[in-house]
Symmetry: C2
Subunit: 186 residues, 2 copies
Amino acid sequence: MPSGPARPPGRPRAGVDAAVFAATLRTVHELGYARATVERIAAAAGIAKTTIYRRWPSKGELVVDVLLDAFGPAPLVGGTRAEILASVIRWGAAKIAEPGVGDAFAGVFSDAVSDPALRVVLSSRLQDPYRLALQDALGEPEHRVLFFVDVVVGTLLHRMGMTGEPMVDADVTALVDMVVAHFANE
Amino acid sequence: MPSGPARPPGRPRAGVDAAVFAATLRTVHELGYARATVERIAAAAGIAKTTIYRRWPSKGELVVDVLLDAFGPAPLVGGTRAEILASVIRWGAAKIAEPGVGDAFAGVFSDAVSDPALRVVLSSRLQDPYRLALQDALGEPEHRVLFFVDVVVGTLLHRMGMTGEPMVDADVTALVDMVVAHFANE
DNA sequence: TAATTTCGAAACCTGCGGTATCGAAACCTA
DNA sequence: TAGGTTTCGATACCGCAGGTTTCGAAATTA
């Protein structure tokens, strides 16, 4: 028998992560980021507020985990550099357009502006994995990929923040054209 | 006699706007947007918190006025379309890099994400004047200029929000190159 | 059954945006 | 100088959200 680490004594943790993630997106989508209080999210997930704070140290870090779960790994397969760039931009735009995802992203980004600790979490846990994967897939230096992320994510979030609606397809296409023309030169 | 509107009776309003604007930028620069409370801003300006709330209905609208004062009119003089685009991008980047301005911009933008009323104010009082001036100077339709603003402001604010520092000159140049190549085609 | 760990419910603290109150100060008119 | 009007400063206050503490009940192992 592969005697894995024996289960420790005591009541086991309930598997509530998926329910909390879904409840967070639903609540943020319905009420907006600021009115989606931790207490309301817990109620929507059918658990107690204290259970959330036992797993996540702050609302911001909870939302970072929600976004990691919502985005998943970036699809970086593709032929030419232009195709890779276009597909990752369209993938990001589509994810941000999903109910609650854009609001959650803009909200946690906003919180991070005044919270250096959260900014580190956002940068290291959410941005860095995609940045490293892009550096690898494109063979670009770090600062060029960081600029790419600033342009794509910044543009999509600015539209979301100013209008409350995700960017329409025609403008996503313009973004793809502009960015690909700038980065695809070999 | 040019009987202008006679001064109404009662104690005249003190001219505190300039002091409040400066105190807001200073406080936001030193403490960040969230910790720059209205009470601290008032203290830095040497006035009472109630005096601020007599003039501005909310912290968000105060900061919008601060930004209007800090940015001033956009410099849209210039020869070619490319020159106009480049100069307005560099002007925006330089303003956002001024102490407190970038933090205040990112902060009020963040607040607007969850506050539709503030979003309307931000859009109509801050974005629209520059958008209209750009439409006029470039002869571009509204949706193209809105896309331009999303790209430029979104990129600059994303960099500011993720790193806490304004965008360095080399990256501003890359932004200029990319946007000009996309928009300057006649 | 005893020990251990998590859960839920509730009370609680802190800080901030925003409001209400009220006496003092500054101005105009008579 | 006196009276009316408006703004100012100080203070207390309210609502709400993030986050903490407490404690008894539930779920598991040994």
